[in-house]
Assembly symmetry: C2
Homo-oligomer: 187 residues x 2
DNA sequence: TTAAACTTTCAGAAACTTCTGAAAGTTCGT
DNA sequence: ACGAACTTTCAGAAGTTTCTGAAAGTTTAA
C-alpha cells in the first residue's frame, strides 16, 4: 500500500486533529485513508500503509464501527476483510455530530436534570441552581434544534445554511405573516 | 471554602466532561465552581476547595483567561486576586464554540485549501481530491453559517431555535414568496 | 530597603492513553 | 479433524498529559 505525498499530509493531519475531534490518532488516520481511497482496503494494508501494528488496526476498526463510519466487504476467493468508509460526507458529519452529542451533552443534561430536582438548602445553592437551570435550558434547546436540523435532508439543510444572513430576514417575514405568535419572551 | 454536595457533583461532572469539551479536568472544575458561585473566589480558595495545588490553580486561571471565560477583581484592603466567570451563559456558549472552531475546524480548512491547489498526479489522487473538496465545502458552509448565527443576538437565536420543525415550513414559504431564486442545485 | 503577601514557573512525579506483538481465537477448505 | 489464513485480545512498553511543590518573581506597605 503506497500513498501519495498529497494524501499523506491529509492523513497525518486527520491523525493530529483526531484527538480534538474525539478519537485518537490512529482512528483519525485510518478513517482519513478510507475516505480518500475509493477501493476497500484490507487490515494488513492499513497496518503497512500507516506503519502501525496489526493489533492497533483491529482495535481502531472496532472503534470506527462503533461510530458507524465504516463498512466491511469481501472479495470473492479472498478471506480477508476489506473496509471502506460509509455514506456521503453529509452522513459522516451527521454521525459525528450525533455521536458527540451523545458523549458531550447528554450526560450533562441528565446530571443537571437530577440536580434541579433537589431542593436548595441555602442561599448559595439557590444561586447555583439558577445557573444550572440556565445551562440546562440552553443545552436542551440546542440539542432539540440539532435533532431538528438532522431531520432535514442535505438539500434542505444546505439551502438553509446558504440563506446565511437571510435567517434574520426570515424571522421578520414570519412576524409579518403571523404577528399573533408570542415572540417577545425576555430571555 | 466548603462546597455543598449538590454543587460538588456538578463541579466533578464538569471536570470529567472537561476533556471532551476541549480543556482539562482542573480547568473544567474551576470554571464550574466560578459559574455557580456568585461571589468572586480567590486562588487559595480554589486550591483548597478543589483539593489541587496552588501552582495548578495558577496555570488553569491562565487557560481560562485565554478562553476569555473569567474575570479578575479585587477587594479593598486585600491584596489577593479574586476571580469570577464572565458574561451570560449564552456568551459562554458562544466563546466555547468560537474557540473550538478555531482549534478544530480552521486548521483543517487551511490544509484542505492548500491540498486542493495541487494538481492530482494519478487517478487515485483525483478521487481523493473530490473527497477533499466535499469535506472542504461542507466545513466552509458550516463555518460560515455558525459565524452568521453568532451574529444574531440571543433573543433572535432563541426564537430561531424554538422555530424547530417550523424551519422547513419556512423554506417552503420562502419558495412561494420568491419562486425565482435558484434552489435546485444538485449537491 | 526590607520583608511580608501574594503569584508564576518549571523540573520531575504521577496518572492516563495509546500502541505493540505474541498468544489465543475463529473460520474455512480439504 | 487438521492446519492455513486470517482476526482479536491483552499485558506491559512507550508516549503524552497533567499535577505538585519548591524556588523564583512581583507588588505593596512601612
Amino acid at each position: 500500500m503506497n500513498i501519495s505525498t498529497q494524501n499523506q499530509s491529509f492523513i497525518y493531519h486527520f491523525g493530529e486533529m483526531g484527538s480534538r475531534w474525539g478519537f485518537n490518532r490512529t482512528v483519525g488516520q485510518m478513517y482519513a485513508l478510507l475516505v480518500i481511497t475509493e477501493a476497500p482496503v484490507c487490515a494488513n494494508d492499513l497496518a503497512s500503509g500507516l506503519n502501525i501494528s496489526r493489533g492497533n488496526v483491529s482495535m481502531s476498526i472496532k472503534e470506527l464501527q462503533s461510530w458507524q463510519l465504516i463498512q466491511m466487504s469481501h472479495i470473492p476467493g479472498d478471506r480477508k476483510e476489506y473496509y471502506s468508509s460509509i455514506g456521503s460526507i453529509w452522513d459522516m458529519a451527521n454521525t459525528v455530530f450525533k455521536e458527540r452529542r451523545k458523549r458531550e451533552i447528554d450526560p450533562t443534561l441528565s446530571l443537571l436534570r437530577a440536580s434541579l430536582l433537589e431542593k436548595p438548602t441555602d442561599a448559595g445553592d439557590e444561586y447555583s441552581q439558577t445557573k444550572m437551570q440556565e445551562i440546562h435550558d440552553l443545552l436542551e434547546m440546542v440539542t432539540e434544534w440539532a435533532a431538528e436540523l438532522q431531520r432535514l435532508n442535505p438539500e434542505q439543510l444546505s439551502r438553509l445554511m446558504k440563506l446565511g444572513a437571510g435567517v434574520s430576514k426570515m424571522l421578520s417575514v414570519k412576524d409579518q405573516l403571523f404577528p399573533n405568535k408570542k415572540n417577545s419572551e425576555s430571555n
